[in-house]
């Protein structure tokens, strides 16, 4: 029989001894892999659902969108001729007002033509008899989302005012097939027919209205062909074209980003579990010393010993990994079954190969990386061990070949984490952080042991001295306990502080500085009266009003925007239409980092003030040019100023500001922000929207509340995964305690013989665990605080706040865990009878 064949035979025979020694091993792998598989499968299921429903979400095969004005009749004719069918839709924000009591709400107004929807079905949960959208006796029929009906106490038949139009609620929307999926929703849907939009009088020059044209293709045509023909027919359009592959890019990016974060946290759980795996394998092999030595005495080569136990360990790893992967793979089905009806995103529950194979690979590589060390050491068990009592576990490193194997496996693990991420830079930072944490906790453990030894040399209370001695004696599991518990706690502290800082930012700091309202679609003819009305509101301050219109960057210098490579996270600036403005003077508090603002009376060729990070992302600077398509016309401006913008303040800011002289001649509207005391908000809202039905008001607090809700959802998911990491850490702690149990029993028995009371022994053991817990918690708190600071300041670019309560709670959790486990172990040890042990000794 060959070496591997004989090793397999011996491994199978060794398994007859049962898998009792592998319970913690299996549990650690199972949990860690299950998290990664679940997160990956769920992300894929959501992205898969978005792809499955893409045609429905998009509203057709192709979607053409233009802002401010409809496409030309020639363009519309072309679409109708080349496509199988076309549906016309107009979307904009508006205010819906109850004429009876004046209550009002921001709505997402949608006017749809007769052919809508081309794909899917618009369904109502309730409706009045007759046509929902017809204009009858000057009253526009409308369907509303249930949330609007709830907010304004609407029943079927109730009346609303939208712009200048009288609107009757004739139906409640159950399902709108092409409702855009987004992370944050600002206003419920109010849908009318195309005939009703004119009644509203909301379509003014420069209004922020989106004109959508959904097209289905003729049989035999393809998206690529259609787009090519469209581009050939209209080479310089101002519209944006999307097809099925881009049905919901923002939510996809959002899901992928959250998925990446949760996967990385899950990977931390698996790595913490890896420590448990290493401990379990080490403990198992320590118990096999006699068997290994016997084999060697009988003539087994050391390599055979290694192969035998490697196969056994990897067989266990496969069981744990497969089990975890199977459980994780069921996540999409479970989520769809229990939450499918209330989730805002579609889920295509299925088994997704890539995340499942990834989780398998993660599990196997982790098991291998953490098992090679004890396997390598077991290989070196001398046959002479049969003749000599092994007083203390063998120390020392395994051979360099095994160290190299550990290094290679670890590199593969890191590589898998980085390559599989959509933000590889973030994943690389995470990997670096984990490696750093491992080293840091190893050093911290050694420091704790050295400190325990140093303090223990003093004349102390005997219980304390025993506790300290147990921390640094040969074979003490201090190192692995500090590492496993410390990593889990670090993740908990980091996530808790990040959540606390985000909440602090959104719920407390932002509202202090943010305006009370954004008013949009203010016509140029209305500005003077608008300003007067707002300024008359008691307590108002900080009124800022800026002209605005939408445009899209089509060229950067001479390069078309679709060929520009962006760096970092700055692709957004080329993605879609952007808000543009013009100004003679820099905005109040503008932070100019390069260049010089133009003179107030400047009237030369267009100049641009550009946001500095976006400029860096595009690789442009002072003197470079941007060409923007505005209302079908291309405008090229030279970058004269780079400015840093603090987007988090929610103040009125634009990434692109033109010098006056060109855009002011185009049809445009104004946008304004103002701060008023909360008691005046309703009054101002009513005053403005009553006087100017075309102006839409966005209450900032509503937006912050919506953002908070989303953050809470993300935080809950993060907390769940983090607690799982902590659970794995606790398992490892319990495993280390179990592994040391016999020694603890022996210590307890000998101490009893020497006259120690049970209280003496229990105090010593509990002190030991308490010191271990406190030391670990302090290091974890320090690392977690540093990590949360770095993420908040450098990634989120926000101000970091220290939250002592959060850190204290985490330290307490650690103490409770270690003392609880210590108490359980002590109770068992004290319960053992002395006689049997003394007789055998």
């Amino acid at each position: 029989m060959t070496g591997w064949g004989l090793a397999l035979t011996y491994a199978r025979r060794e398994l007859r001894g049962g898998v009792k020694g592998f319970r913690i091993f299996l549990a650690c792998l199972f949990l860690g892999v299950a998290v990664i598989a679940a997160v990956g499968s769920l992300s894929s299921a959501i992205v898969g659902g978005l792809a499955r429903d893409a045609r429905s979400i998009l509203g057709g095969d192709i979607s053409v969108r233009q802002i401010h004005q409809p496409i030309s009749p020639e363009q519309l004719t072309w679409l109708k001729t080349e496509g199988a069918s076309v549906s016309e839709i107009i979307e904009m924000r508006a205010m819906a007002i109850r004429p009876d009591d004046g209550r009002r709400n921001l709505v997402q107004l949608k006017a749809a033509g007769d052919t809508y929807p081309l794909v899917g079905t618009l369904t109502f949960s309730e409706q009045l008899p007759g046509s929902v959208f017809a204009v009858t006796d000057g009253v526009v029929g409308a369907a509303v989302e249930k949330s609007l009906a709830t907010r304004l106490d609407l029943k079927l038949g109730d009346k609303l005012k939208v712009g200048e139009a009288a609107v009757e609620v004739r139906a409640l929307i159950e399902k709108e097939p092409d409702r855009a999926v987004s992370a944050i929703d600002f206003g419920p849907r109010l849908m009318i027919g195309m005939a009703g939009i004119a009644q509203t009088d909301l379509l003014q020059p420069g209004s922020l209205a989106e004109f959508h044209y959904k097209v289905t293709l003729k049989p035999g045509d393809s998206i690529a062909n259609f787009r090519a023909r469209l581009l050939a027919a209209f080479p310089d359009p101002q519209w944006r074209v999307r097809d099925l592959s881009q049905a919901s890019p923002q939510i996809e990016r959002f899901v992928e980003r959250i998925g990446l974060f949760l996967t990385l946290v899950g990977l931390t759980a698996l790595l913490v579990g890896g420590v448990g795996v290493g401990n379990a394998v080490g403990s198992y092999l320590n118990g096999k010393t006699t068997t290994i030595a016997t084999w060697k005495a009988l003539g087994a080569p050391a390599g055979l010993i290694f192969k035998t136990y490697l196969m056994l360990v990897m067989a266990m790893a496969l069981i744990g990994t497969l089990g975890g992967t199977l459980l994780g793979s069921l996540a999409p089905f479970a989520v769809e079954a229990f939450f499918g009806a209330i989730l805002p995103v579609p889920i295509a529950a299925s088994f997704y190969a890539v995340p499942l194979l990834s989780s398998l690979a993660f599990g196997i590589l982790t098991a291998l990386a953490f098992s090679l060390w004890p396997l390598g050491r077991a290989r070196e068990v001398p046959a002479a061990a049969l003749f000599r009592d092994v007083v203390a576990p063998r120390g020392g490193r395994p051979r360099w070949t095994y160290l190299a194997g550990i290094a290679v496996t670890s590199i593969l693990l890191a590589g898998l984490a980085i390559v599989g991420a959509d933000r590889q830079d973030l994943a690389a930072w995470f990997v670096g952080g984990v490696i750093g944490s491992f080293l840091l906790f190893r050093i911290a453990a050694r420091g704790l042991m050295a400190l325990a030894k140093w303090i223990g040399e003093s004349r102390l209370n005997p219980r304390l001295r025993l506790a300290l001695a147990n921390l640094h004696r040969p074979g003490a599991p201090t190192g692995s306990m500090v590492l496993s518990l410390g990593l889990g706690l670090t993740v908990l502290v980091t996530v808790a502080l990040l959540e606390g800082n985000l909440n602090n930012q959104v719920a407390e700091r932002l509202p202090e500085r943010a305006p009370s309202f954004f008013f949009i679609d203010i016509q140029s003819t209305q500005v003077a009266e608008f300003d007067e009305l707002v300024k008359a509101t008691p307590g108002q301050s900080d009124l800022q009003r800026t002209p605005t219109l939408r445009g899209r960057i089509v060229r950067v210098n001479d390069t078309p925007s679709d060929q520009v490579k962006t760096t970092g996270d700055q692709g957004w600036v080329l993605d879609s239409d952007r808000g543009l403005t013009y100004a003679a003077e820099p905005p109040p508090g503008a932070k100019i980092v390069a260049g010089q603002w133009w003179a107030p009376d400047y009237s030369g060729p267009p100049l641009i003030a550009f946001e500095s990070r976006a400029a860096a992302g595009l690789g442009v600077g002072i003197g470079d040019t941007l060409t923007v398509n505005v209302l079908g016309r291309e405008v090229t401006g030279k970058i004269a100023v780079l400015r840093e913008i603090e987007w988090g303040s929610l103040a009125l800011n634009f990434a692109i500001v033109f010098s006056p002289g060109l855009l002011d001649k185009a049809p445009h509207t104004h946008i304004a922000t103002v701060h008023v005391p909360p008691a005046q908000e309703d009054k101002l809202l009513r005053a403005v929207t009553d006087r100017f039905p075309n102006i839409t008001a966005v209450r900032v607090q509503d937006a912050l509340d919506a953002a908070t809700e989303v953050l809470e959802g993300i935080a809950a998911a993060a907390r769940a995964v983090t607690l799982l990491t902590l659970s794995v850490g606790t398992l490892v702690l319990a495993g280390a305690m179990l592994a040391g149990h016999q020694r603890r029993v022996y210590d307890a028995v000998v101490l009893k013989v020497l006259g120690a009371t049970r209280r003496d022994i229990a105090s010593a053991f509990l002190l030991e665990y308490g010191l271990l817990g406190l030391g670990t918690a302090l290091v974890a708190a320090a690392v977690g605080i540093t990590a949360s600071w770095a993420v908040t300041v450098f990634l989120m670019r926000a101000q970091w706040v220290f939250l002592p309560g959060t850190v204290l709670v985490t330290i307490l959790i650690c103490l409770v865990l270690t003392l609880g486990i210590g108490f359980a172990g002590t109770w068992r040890a004290l319960g053992q009878k002395a006689a049997p042990l003394l007789r055998n000794a």
Binding site: R13, E14, L15, T294, A297, L298, A300
Partner: protein, 224 residues
């Protein structure tokens, strides 16, 4: 068969270097039986380990069954041991997850013998355990376990048998039975025997008795 010349063994310990064997000279002929006696800690086990290739001599020459052990690396020693040496321990040292048959077959499996299990079955019958082939060590009495160990040691027809207190964990009657069996098998195979024992009567059964004390060897002469 065995030639030790000025063998020293020094081992490192936490308290510094310890001289375990201090200039051992020993010659044993093929087929001879030698009893090794001495107080605890004298170096008996260490000398046996040097002869069995389980411990390296710090200096001196060690030739056993025609092989110069000082020039062999760990794996070569293991292979040599597989084919030439049988060892019987006080604590039996059977692999707990293997049956009696599988335990006896191990040296033959290691050697790649296709008839490993057939020969192991014969070896177990020879020691009177033909009806216990599929029993695990925990299902066997102490005496039965030691018989399995004897079968395992002799299944390769070793040139040398090392027995370290083989009756130390057995009662008197069982111990006698094991000793009779061991000597019988030794004679049948023509094996050289080194027997560590605290039992003077047992030592006297050997052709010769040597005494180790404080790391040095002294011969007590031929057994009466």
């Amino acid at each position: 068969m065995i030639e030790l010349r000025n063998v020293h063994v020094k081992l490192a310990s936490a308290a510094g270097e310890v001289n375990i064997l201090r200039g051992i000279d020993l010659s044993v002929g093929a087929g001879e039986s030698v009893g090794v006696v001495g107080p605890s800690g004298a170096g008996k086990s260490t000398m046996m380990m040097v002869i069995g290739g389980l411990e390296r001599a710090s200096s001196g020459s060690v030739t056993v069954a025609g092989a110069d052990l000082t020039g062999l690396n760990e794996d070569k020693l293991a292979l040599w041991r597989r084919d030439a040496v049988g060892i019987v321990f006080q604590a039996f040292r059977l692999v707990p997850t293997m049956t009696a048959l599988e335990n006896v077959a191990v040296p033959l499996e290691l050697a790649g013998r296709r008839d490993a299990f057939e020969r192991a079955a014969v070896a177990l019958q020879d020691v009177g355990l033909g009806h216990r082939l599929d029993h695990y060590p925990e299902q066997l009495s102490g005496g039965e376990q030691q018989r399995v160990a004897l079968a395992r040691a002799f299944v390769i027809r070793p040139k040398l048998l090392i027995a370290d207190e083989p009756t130390g964990n057995l009662d008197g009657t069982t111990g006698k039975q094991i000793i009779e069996l061991m000597f019988k098998m030794k004679e049948e195979a023509g094996t050289t025997l080194l027997l560590i024992t605290h039992d003077p009567a047992l030592a006297q059964r050997c052709d010769r008795v040597v005494r180790i004390a404080d790391g040095q060897l002294s011969a007590l002469g031929a057994a009466a």
